[in-house]
């Protein structure tokens, strides 16, 4: 009896913990496991340009180079949303382009793979590396 209890008890914990995960209120407002500032830092890069439209177009063509399909874009708000199929239920990404001061543009990206937010710096580094390539091409080859 005692052994049975011992076996069941951890299971109960798992069930309780798992049901805690699905609390809709917590899910909607859950920022992340990372601190807000840290998250913003790893999701953002600043570029030395004042041209919002060109930056947005470069973001779009970079996403296309990465085999994303553009879902929607808004030039007023500066947002682009795109999806890449494959992996675990697809990678969905929203990129926002906003002026930072008068001489720079800030690009912020956030992504989720399947039903899980990406909070690791490496994927964002990879994305911005691709974007930097695109920004360089735009600036220098005028493509």
């Amino acid at each position: 009896m005692k052994t049975l209890l011992r076996a069941i008890l951890p299971l109960c914990f798992v069930v309780v913990a798992a049901s805690g995960c699905a609390d809709p209120n917590k899910q909607a407002l859950a920022t992340s496991t990372e601190s807000q500032v840290k998250l913003r830092t790893m999701q953002s890069r600043v570029f030395d340009t004042t041209d919002k439209m060109t930056t947005m177009r470069t973001v779009i063509s970079t996403l296309q180079d990465l085999s994303f399909v553009i879902d929607k874009a808004d030039s007023n708000l500066g947002t682009v949303t795109a999806t890449k199929l494959g992996g675990r239920g697809g990678l969905r990404m929203t990129v926002m382009v906003q002026p930072k001061g008068t001489k720079q543009m800030r690009v912020r990206a956030n992504a989720q793979l399947g039903i899980q937010a990406i909070e690791d710096p490496l994927p964002y580094q990879a994305f911005f590396q691709s974007l930097e390539k695109g920004m360089f091409l735009t600036a220098n080859l005028d493509e």
Binding site: T3, R6, A7, P10, M53, M56, R57, I60, S61, Q64, D65, L66, S67, V69, I70, D71, K72, A73, D74, S75, K84, L85, G86, G87, R88, G90, L91, A111, L113, Q116, I118, D120, L122, P123, Y124, Q125, A126, F127, Q129, S130, K133, D142, E143
Partner: protein, 255 residues
């Protein structure tokens, strides 16, 4: 007490699976956000260049082609040159149906088969700028449009008619002088209009590129997504751009 070591192993395995899943999650996303070696090939496959700077015209022509192909337009952002469309079609595959019947006949119950697919298309146009003008004070070429040409011709014709009529007044009756002045001025305006229009058509304004991507999501008879994939057959893109080239030509010539 005997259960405990097994539980411990189980817990460890669970932990490993969770941790492994996390690491894998980051790795998969990183791979998905890194430029693949074939990205350049895909870019070439999916992109076509048109020798016009009229991005709106190319976008309109693209929207028409998508409609020709039976797509519903879901989103459009003309200032960024984006059109997103989709269509839902039958995805029943004869091979799968045969297989399902075979399984059912053997008593395997009903096997889900592909039922319908949603094909999504996203099309992006972008201006391809010409080489930058090097010197700082170089003027960009003056843009000719039918409106600009008409206005210029009207101005010149008015001035010309006035001065011709004044000149003719010495040698001709007043009514004849104004008639002759008008006729000559009109003829000149027509010629000027023709010349400028010809020039407008020949002027190189740059180019516009179009990049299109297709993907499809297949649902089976149980309502589950059975397949999600990007469509990357070269023939598909070739055929699409053949249609678009025709459409751009028709649009450019107002047909």
């Amino acid at each position: 007490m005997k259960v405990l070591p097994q539980l411990r192993v189980f817990a460890l395995l669970l932990l490993a699976a969770v941790a492994g899943g996390c690491a894998n999650h980051a790795q998969i996303s990183k791979d998905m956000l890194t430029l693949a070696p074939e990205s350049m090939r895909n870019r070439q496959l999916q992109t076509k260049r048109y020798d016009t700077n009229d991005e709106k015209m190319v976008l309109t022509a693209s929207a028409s082609v998508l409609q020709d192909l039976g797509f519903q337009l879901d989103e459009s952002t003309p200032d960024l040159g984006i059109i997103v469309g989709s269509k839902t079609r039958d995805a029943t595959d004869a091979g799968q149906v045969t297989m399902a019947i075979f399984v059912a006949a053997l008593g395997g119950g009903s096997m889900p088969i592909d039922k319908q697919q949603t094909i999504r298309v996203s099309l992006v146009t972008a201006p391809m700028a010409r080489p930058k003008v090097k010197s700082a004070n170089a003027q960009p070429p003056k843009k000719l449009t039918p409106e600009v040409i008409n206005a210029a011709c009207a101005r010149v014709s008015g001035k010309l008619q006035q001065s011709l009529t004044d000149e003719f007044r010495d040698v001709l009756p007043v009514a004849d002088a104004s008639l002759a002045g008008k006729a000559l001025a009109d003829q000149f305006a027509r010629e000027l209009n023709g010349d400028l229009t010809q020039r407008m058509k020949n002027q190189d304004f740059g180019a516009t590129r179009v990049r299109v991507t297709f993907q499809r999501v297949v649902m089976n008879t149980q309502g589950f997504v059975s397949r999600m994939e990007a469509l990357e057959t070269p023939e598909l893109y070739k055929e699409f751009y053949e249609k678009l080239s025709k459409s751009v030509f028709l649009e450019a010539n107002d047909i």
